[in-house]
């Protein structure tokens, strides 16, 4: 297993070497880049909004319920909600969710192109297929993902605000004061940096699994699953490393 993992990593590095080359035609590259930003990024906005709103609201409710003590100031609910969202949810957890949506999308699309000989057709024209297909996906997703991260932070905080506004669990003043207290701007940058790294992992690992599919539609499905599982594990490992590097 160790040997095959090292071999796969080697193949992944060689694949990345193929991907990160000068595009055949910049005009076509930018056209594809816009398309991929729309497909992988903009199309993920509804999912990010719904999940962040709900999780923000749930975190706020959990915090209110679990911090009932005269020793804990009432604004701590907002503060804790903000810290959870900024530090972990909007970057790591959201990336894990996007690994499912975007990762499987990329792996199945490229895998289908492989088994239906579309990649061979591109290669035979003398075009670097890895560069042509994969580079716009990686660049597009990495470029757009900070927008999703910041949007998730905002929507999560908004979800908490809805709880304070429409229930009697916590007052709006306390919640707003909490989310403004002891604010450390670096946490936003920390979240964004993590998300960019995770976006690269999601798009490149999924592309790798899709590009090297062999067989038919069954293998495309397997590749899609493997891409999501592998990128999720790598994201979790990278999360530990990045947290140690960026917050210590």
């Amino acid at each position: 297993m160790i040997v095959s993992s090292i071999a796969s990593f080697g193949r992944y590095c060689l694949f990345m070497g193929q991907v990160f080359r000068k595009p055949e035609k910049w005009k076509v590259f930018f056209q594809r880049l816009v398309l991929e930003i729309s497909k992988l990024g903009v199309d993920s906005i509804p999912l990010v909004i719904i999940i962040s709103l709900v999780i923000g609201a749930v975190i706020t409710i959990q915090m209110v319920i679990n911090t009932v003590s005269p020793l804990i100031p009432s604004y701590s609910t907002g503060l804790a909600t903000r810290e959870i969202l900024l530090l972990e949810f909007s970057s790591s957890i959201m990336s894990l969710i996007l690994a499912g949506k975007v990762g499987s999308n990329i792996a199945s699309e490229i895998g289908t192109m492989r088994v239906t000989e579309q990649i061979d057709a591109i290669d035979i024209m003398g075009i670097n297929s890895a560069n042509f297909i994969v580079l716009p996906k990686i660049v597009g997703f990495v470029l757009f993902v900070p927008v999703l991260c910041v949007l998730s932070m905002f929507m999560g905080l908004l979800g908490g605000w809805f709880i304070s506004e429409f229930t009697s669990m916590i007052s709006v003043e306390n919640y707003v004061f909490g989310i403004q207290s002891f604010f450390n701007e670096w946490y936003v940058w920390y979240g964004i940096i993590k998300t960019i790294v995770f976006a690269f992992i999601i798009s490149s690992v999924a592309s790798f699994f899709g590009y090297f599919v062999k067989g038919g539609s069954l293998e495309v499905g397997k590749a899609s699953t493997n891409a999501v599982v592998s990128s999720s594990i790598i994201i979790l490992l990278a999360d530990v490393l990045l947290t140690k590097m960026l917050l210590q």
Binding site: V28, T116, E117, Q118, I124, M125, G126, I127
Partner: protein
Amino acid sequence: MIEAKNISKWFDGQRILYDISATFDTGKTNLIIGQSGSGKTVFMKCLIGLLTPEEGSILYDGRKFREMSEQQKRALRTEIGVLFQGSALFDNETVLGNVMFPLKMFSPMSHEEQLERAHFCIKRVGLTNADDKYPSEISGGMQKRVAIARAIALNPKYLFCDEPNSGLDPRTSILIDELLSDITHEYGITTIINTHDMNSVLGIGEKIVFINKGHCDWIGTDKTIFKSKSQSLNDFVFASKLFQEVKKFLEREYEAEEDV
């Protein structure tokens, strides 16, 4: 002209091709025939450069493929059109987008000229009112036509077709064969068609290379194929009842000729 000299290919220690040598003539429809699993697709992929043979050499009009630099290979690829078995059309592009693709990537033409060329190619393969349709919205026969239009968009010198009739009804198969033959003669292309369809063999086989279990067993034409003494070729050609009847008929004809 494309020449293959002593091509040998192994996969995981198993030999697939054994010293295959053949010449494919310019301006003719050259057919590679053989049973499924005989190695004809591997041979064609070696000719195109999608697979690298362990032994032997391939010459495109005297230019040795193996000795070419990456840049020369890329230049050569713009002279090659390929029709894949499953058409290999880009799902997210329309018919027009698919035909425009090679033009966009390689042609120095203006956008208007590219459009004009793409429309010409689409019209040449007999498609009308299909520009804005996606591959999933058109029939298998139409997909083949689009793939042919895309393959000829850059005026290729060499056209490779991998089982162009697979999955098509007999009538559409004949139309596709005729189209490939017409295009070959019209533009003087070196066309190589990989098939096991005997209708294609008889209809457009100006030169035929028969591959059996990785060996080149016979080379001839549609005129000489019925007179061949090769047992493996006869087993392949006369496998169906229809062609067995044809064989009996031809033998009677030959006997009558000899009596006269």
